[in-house]
Amino acid sequence: MSIDTVLLYFFVVAALAGGVLMLVAQHPMRVALALIAVMLSLAGVYAMLGVHAVAVFQVLIYVGAVMVFMVYVIMLLDVRDPSFVVRYGRLLVPGVALGTLLAAALGLGMAQLRVTPAAAGVEAPSYLVRPFSQEFLQQYWLHFELTSVLLVAAVVAAIAVIKSGRRQDG
């Protein structure tokens, strides 16, 4: 049992723990931190698997951008809100049951198939940044462009929402 494996499993457990923590933590801030933990440990997993590109961007985009934004928002909201003190809605039991059922369904569905790395015959591509970027910009540059459209739309949408929110107040 190599050190890699130990680390990998460490990260797996960490991610799992973080997930569970997200459910049980009361204050959104804690939840946010738990989510960050999950993301980081997942990044670790990716790194362990050698998919460095993903690992890097996971940290940069997700933790770096998204979660920071999120934490910021949480901080500027007041804490006396009922949803801060009462954790769960009335659908706790069925919700949990269904969630487990879903995970179980997926898991059991996959039970019999063994997911293993590609057979030795196939030369596995390297997941380093360079080859990845090449692939991306050769095969998927349409999508690359499309993401820009998406982002534009998103930005406009966000602005529109905020503006209309103002209009509503004032």
Binding site: G89, L91, G95, L98, G99, L102, A105, L106, L108, G109
Partner: protein, 630 residues
């Protein structure tokens, strides 16, 4: 068969023209026009009939004139034709219809003078003649049926002529409905004949049944079915109930339709279809029995009636019964003979009664009459003659026909029996009794009229009395024309059983004796007025009530048919069936849908997390299902 120049069609159409003219223009052009058209055209028809009759005579005894008017409808190779058929039987009937018809039209001009709907009256009367002629002249049962229903309509209209009185309108409806019941039977018989023989022409049907190969249908069944029709039209048990009520109509109508012509249509039909009955002993038996029962019971009722027209009505029913007895025992000619004599004296009686009512300003109850003999002599004399005739006093017309009927009832080789004869004679006895009772109470006994009525009494105009005289004369001498022989070629007579030949004369004497006995009884009871009669009635109260109530047949029918029908229709069909079961189910479904809709609305709680949960539920469900069935 000899062709003619559309004479028969003309005969039929003349009254129709009268109907149209009077119906459309009558009200504008006034009573004189109406009277001229209304009487003129029937008389023309009568003359035309004579013309046709002479042609027929030349053509030979068993000849027949046939006229094909037009093809009503054709389906496949089969065709329904409107054709007219004129042999000696139809000749006699046509003569009666047009002849007596014309007379009564004339009479009506006097009787109905000044009535608000004079034109309408004559229009209806002409319409009736039209249909009646269609009935007797029609060659095919279909045409006959057209006339058959048509006369029903006419009688409906005329009975309800004074429709403001609900009772009269109701009477008309009752007549029509009762007839319809009979007609249903008629129709069935007609269908059956058509289905088996493929034709509706009466002559061909008769021929078919007479033919070497018997048709593939039991003659008795057909016979009975047709006879059901006859019972409706000719007011035989059990469908006799309408005729007495029909007296609601104007008296000339009662004379024409409900005495002389229409009610005898049943007799005509059976006689016309004799080809069937000759081969249907069973059916004939039924006819005879029904006939004799009707005759007897009607007579018993007539004995206690106090309404002058009701008495005559029941006597008509009973006479018709006698005719059916004759038909039942195969003496078709004799039946027609009685139709013929009966037409005269019964018409005379009704018109006389009309004259009386006319004189008394509408009074119809014989208990409030009497002593009219001197006040309205012509009416009295004619009425007396007719009474004698119907009572069967020789040598008047009624005597001959009735005597022959009784003789055949007794001796016919085709179902004659002593029992028939006994009951028949009893009927004759009662007939003579109640007729003379009527005569006494109306004309001879001291007056029981209220004062102002008595004051108004006057003899009717010549247009009425003249007609009375003519009819009285006919009912006196009519009997000497021996119709049965005349009809022999077309209507074979049943042969009497040799074993009984020698009774013939005895029976004649018995018949006379019966008539006289009736006369004497009536005289003894009623020449002093009502007292004795009432006393007698008081002696047997229940019997009297029963007879007075006409055996409560109407009430029975209402209880057995009328009310249940309404009850079922209303309670079972309408409330239970339509409203409760059918609509109830539908409304129930609708309500359920709305309730479900409400439930579904409540599922849409507005809780975002619930929506997510539903979705997840869906996903899990899908996955589970798919993986179970993959």
């Amino acid at each position: 068969m000899t062709p003619t120049m559309n004479l028969l069609t003309v005969i039929v159409l003349l009254p129709l023209a009268g109907f149209v003219l009077n119906g459309l223009l009558g009200r504008r052009l006034g009573p004189t026009f109406v009277s001229v058209v209304g009487c003129g055209l029937p008389i023309l028809a009568f003359l035309a009939t004579l013309e046709a009759f002479s042609t027929l005579q030349l053509a030979g005894p068993d000849a027949a004139l046939v006229e094909h008017a037009y093809q009503w409808a054709a389906v496949g190779n089969q065709s329904f034709d409107v054709a007219f058929y004129f042999d000696r039987l139809s000749a006699v009937m046509t003569l009666i219809v047009t002849g007596v018809g014309s007379l009564i039209h004339v009479y009506s001009t006097g009787y109905m003078k000044g009535d608000a709907s004079y034109a309408r009256y004559f229009a209806y009367l002409n319409l009736f003649l039209f249909f009646m002629l269609t009935l007797v002249l029609g060659r095919s049962l279909l045409v006959c049926f057209v006339g058959w229903e048509g006369v029903g309509l006419a009688s409906y209209l005329l009975i309800g002529f004074w429709f403001e009185d609900p009772a009269k309108a109701a009477a008309g409806k009752k007549a029509f409905i009762t007839n319809r019941i009979g007609d249903a039977g008629f129709l069935l018989g007609l269908f059956l004949l058509y289905h088996v023989l493929g034709t509706l022409n009466m002559d061909e049907i008769n021929a078919a049944f007479g033919g070497p190969v018997a048709p593939a249908v039991s003659a008795s069944l057909v016979g009975v079915l047709l006879f059901i029709g006859a019972t409706g039209k000719s007011a035989q048990i059990p469908l006799h109930v309408w005729l007495p009520d029909a007296m609601a109509g104007p008296t000339p109508v009662s004379a024409l339709i409900h005495a002389a012509t229409m009610v005898t249509a049943g007799v005509y039909l059976v006689a016309r279809m004799h080809g069937i009955y000759e081969h249907a002993p069973l059916a004939s038996q039924v006819v005879a029995v029904i006939g004799v029962m009707t005759a007897f019971f009607a007579a018993t009722i007539a004995v206690v009636q106090t309404d002058i027209k009701k008495v005559l009505a029941y006597s008509t029913v009973s006479q018709l019964g006698l005719m059916f007895v004759a038909l039942g025992v195969g003496a078709y000619g004799v039946a027609v003979f009685h139709v013929y004599t009966h037409a005269f004296f019964k018409a005379c009686l009704f018109l006389g009664a009309g004259s009386v009512i006319h004189a008394l300003g509408g009074e119809q109850d014989i208990r409030r009459m009497g002593g009219l003999a001197r006040r309205i002599p012509v009416t009295f004399v004619t009425f007396a003659i007719a009474t004698a005739a119907i009572a069967g006093i020789p040598p008047l017309a009624g005597f001959f026909s009735k005597d022959e009927i009784l003789w055949f009832a007794f001796a016919s080789g085709y179902g004659g029996s002593t029992l028939l004869w006994v009951v028949g004679s009893a009927t004759a006895l009662m007939t003579s009794f109640y007729m003379f009772r009527l005569l006494w109470l109306t004309f001879l006994t001291p007056s029981r009229m209220s004062h102002e009525v008595e004051h108004h009494v006057h003899e009717s105009p010549w247009s009425m009395t003249g007609v009375l005289v003519v009819l009285a004369f006919l009912s006196a001498v009519g009997g000497f024309v021996h119709v049965p022989e005349f009809l022999e070629p077309v209507l074979p007579l049943a042969t009497a059983r040799e074993s009984l030949e020698h009774y013939e004369h005895t029976l004649v004497y018995v018949a006379v004796a019966v008539a006289v006995a009736g006369f004497l009884a009536a005289t003894w009871l009623y020449r002093g007025g009502l007292a004795k009669g009432d006393a007698l009635a008081a002696r047997f109260p229940r019997l009297h009530r029963m007879l007075g109530g006409k055996y409560f047949i109407d009430e029975l029918y209402d209880a057995v048919l009328g009310r249940p029908l309404h009850w079922v229709s209303d309670r079972v069909f309408l409330r239970a069936g339509d409203r409760f079961v059918i609509d109830g189910t539908l409304h129930g479904l609708a309500a359920t849908t709305r309730r479900v809709a409400g439930r579904l609305g409540r599922i849409e709680t507005g809780q975002l997390q619930w929506y997510v949960t539903m979705a997840v539920l869906g996903i899990v469900g899908c996955l589970a299902w798919v993986w179970r069935h993959v």
